[in-house]
């Protein structure tokens, strides 16, 4: 028994000794693994960057200078170069003041802290392990205000053609010329949808999106509300317009009031027709969904800017059996409306709706002008496709140049 205990003690002691030896030897091993610094090697200072060129940024308010330089020859991706320090000397001063720095490998910088009309000169210093090396001074640059942005001249010309055609057709329509506008099924169904609600004795729900009056989709929705509420007033049907923005509420009330006045039924108008719910996206959805389920409107208009709530609203409307007319200019939400609503105004149809419903020649003329823009886009796309396909298939440089020209025609800036 004693011998067994003795053996165990010896084994334990020997293991402790081995562990201690191992730990004590670790620093020695570590010392051998770490390479020693050779004091004879000189401190590394990278070669300076070269050819610092400063230019006034084009088509701006004179508030930016564009800097470009050649990287330090030592800036090859290996360790040693940290960054480039940008230093600026202002006209009338002697010293260069550091204004910013960029990482190694970057050879340009835009100084947006300059004042128009004042002259500046720059140096770029490369910072390395043991010091920095400044470049030679750049050229002197004086940022100036430019009064016209010629970089947008293509946009200006295209805009002019489209606006010109819209204005031309408005004038054309004013003179009493007959214009053909294609039939929009969703808008043709508006009267029928309101009539259905009247027959069923149930209200109409109009949701003008969830954005504020600074969004053109909300304005488009309110213009449609004007046309819809006019018919609603004539039919003496109930309408409810829950909104998620206070300004939309006031605008919707004005629109409704004007429609009831125009219909000769100011007594039927009530401020409660348009009510504010909340700015909170899903809080608004919950309230409108609750309204749908409780009041069971016969017709739901979902027109304006919608996000994730589009399908929640449309599916709830579908579940209560309401006839639904939806429209938005957000392409991501359109499939949801198409799937869950009876009629969907796709993109431009939302903006065309008010003009279409009004039937006024002036408004219809603007739609015709819009069609000219579409025609131009179609011709350019067709030409571009032909030039790119045949230019690349048969290596015809003229066609490729035409394709490049058409592509750059719509590039902005």
């Amino acid at each position: 028994m004693n011998q067994i205990i003795k053996r165990r003690v010896i084994t334990r002691l020997s293991s402790i000794v081995i562990i201690k030896i191992l730990f004590l030897s670790l620093p020695v091993v570590a010392e051998q693994l770490i390479p020693t610094i050779d004091d004879s090697v000189e401190a590394f200072i990278p070669a300076p960057p070269a050819e610092v060129i400063a230019t006034d940024a084009v088509y701006d308010q004179g508030g930016a200078v564009h800097l470009e330089w050649q990287l330090s020859p030592d800036d090859d991706g290996s360790a040693g170069v940290y960054n480039y320090q940008i230093c600026r000397q202002q006209e009338g001063t002697d010293e260069y003041i550091p204004i910013d720095s960029v990482l190694a490998g970057v050879s340009s910088y835009i100084d947006e802290t300059v004042e128009p009309g004042r002259s500046y000169q720059y140096i770029v210093a490369v910072n390395g392990d043991c010091g920095s090396a400044p470049s030679e001074a750049s050229n002197v640059v004086t940022p100036n205000i430019e009064w016209l942005n010629f970089g947008l001249s293509n946009l200006f010309v295209i805009g002019l053609i489209i606006c010109g055609s819209v204005i031309y057709f408005i004038a054309h329509a004013k003179r009493g010329k007959k214009l053909f506008i294609r039939r929009i099924a969703g808008l043709e169904a508006v009267d029928e949808a309101i009539g259905r609600a009247t027959e069923m004795g149930r209200p109409i729900l109009f949701v003008p999106g969830i954005l504020d009056m600074d969004d053109v989709q909300t304005i488009a929705a309110l213009t449609i509300l004007g046309r819809v509420s006019r018919v609603v007033a004539d039919y003496d049907t109930k309408i409810s317009v829950p909104v998620s923005r206070s300004l939309v509420m006031t605008a919707a009330r004005e629109t409704l009031k004007a429609s009831y006045m125009a219909a000769g039924r100011p007594d039927a108008y009530s401020d409660d027709m348009a009510s504010y719910i909340t700015d909170e996206q899903f809080g608004y959805v919950a309230a409108v969904d609750g309204k749908m389920v409780r009041e069971k409107p016969a017709t739901c208009f979902l027109l304006g800017a919608f996000f994730a709530e589009s399908l929640i609203l449309a599916e709830t409307g579908n579940s209560i059996g309401a006839i639904q007319i939806a429209g938005t200019a957000r392409p991501a939400q359109l499939p949801f409306f198409v799937a869950a609503c009876d009629f969907t105004l796709i993109g431009e149809e939302l903006f065309a709706a008010s003009a279409y419903l009004s039937g006024e020649p002036k408004q219809m003329g603007s739609l015709k002008g819009q069609d000219v823009g579409k025609g131009i886009a179609m011709i350019i796309i067709l030409l571009g496709v032909i030039a790119t396909t045949f230019g690349n298939a048969w290596n015809i440089s003229l066609l490729r140049r035409i394709a490049d020209f058409l592509r750059t025609l719509f590039e902005v800036g």
């Binding site: 009064w147 947008l152 206070s246 629109t255 869950a340 002008g369």
Partner: protein, 224 residues
């Protein structure tokens, strides 16, 4: 005159903002007017809050249908307003921000409003399923094409789609389901989306011209 002044302002500001795109010194005008809009919107917020309270208090006092829900709205409105204004339960006191970490206002927001919002958002999962079921029923030719395209994309986004067609040689890789799914998304789908975007752009231009020229004035409350 009540209509003429807004129309003149709309024409002047609308034209100015269109022109400012092409004149660099006027570029900041858009931000300036956005700021003005925000200031006006703040004042309008009082109108919205006031209207909310008025509607629900009327409902309560007249015991209208579903008036019980109005209690929740009014109590919630009052509680959040009082806690936010008086900064009750705010560790930093009256001088700290009401949304400071650990404040009662922020706790209410994080533990009531955020979960409720998430719950509403989560409903989308069920609505997507029911809407897809209806949309993908092959009732006519268009719906059948939609169904096939959706089926290819669904399969193409799963390892099963790759497994099914991995035997197709590399030279015909376009026929593999994942490649077909990518092609559907990048070619017909993108082309359709771009066509819609071009239409939207032109629609916005046309509508803006109508508004700037005062041809469209329904949004101002004028019905001809």
């Amino acid at each position: 005159m009540r209509r003429q002044i807004p129309l003149i302002i709309t024409f002047f500001i609308g034209t100015l903002l269109v022109v400012s795109v092409f004149i660099p010194p006027m570029e900041s005008l858009k931000e300036t007017f956005t700021l003005y809009f925000d200031i006006i919107a703040v004042f309008a917020f009082f109108l919205g809050g006031g209207n909310l309270l008025r509607v629900h208090l009327t409902k309560l006092s007249r015991r209208k249908q579903d008036w019980v829900y109005s209690i929740v709205t009014v109590v919630g409105f009052a509680v959040v307003l009082v806690i936010g204004l008086l900064k009750l339960g705010n560790p930093g006191g009256i001088t700290a921000s009401p949304t400071a970490e650990g404040s009662l206002f922020q706790t209410l927001f994080n533990s009531i409003l955020v979960p409720l919002g998430s719950t509403m958002y989560a409903l989308l999962a069920f609505f997507v399923a029911s809407a897809s079921y209806r949309a993908f029923r092959a009732k006519n030719r268009e719906a059948t094409i939609l169904l096939i395209a959706a089926f290819v994309i669904l399969l193409g986004r799963t390892p099963f789609g790759m497994m099914l067609t991995s035997w197709i040689p590399e030279s015909f890789s376009i026929l593999q389901i994942p490649s077909l799914a990518v092609w559907i998304m990048n070619s017909p789908n993108l082309a359709g989306q771009r066509a819609i975007m071009i239409g939207i752009g032109l629609g916005v231009v046309s509508m803006s011209i109508r508004i700037i020229l005062g041809i469209e004035r329904t949004y101002l409350g004028e019905e001809k």
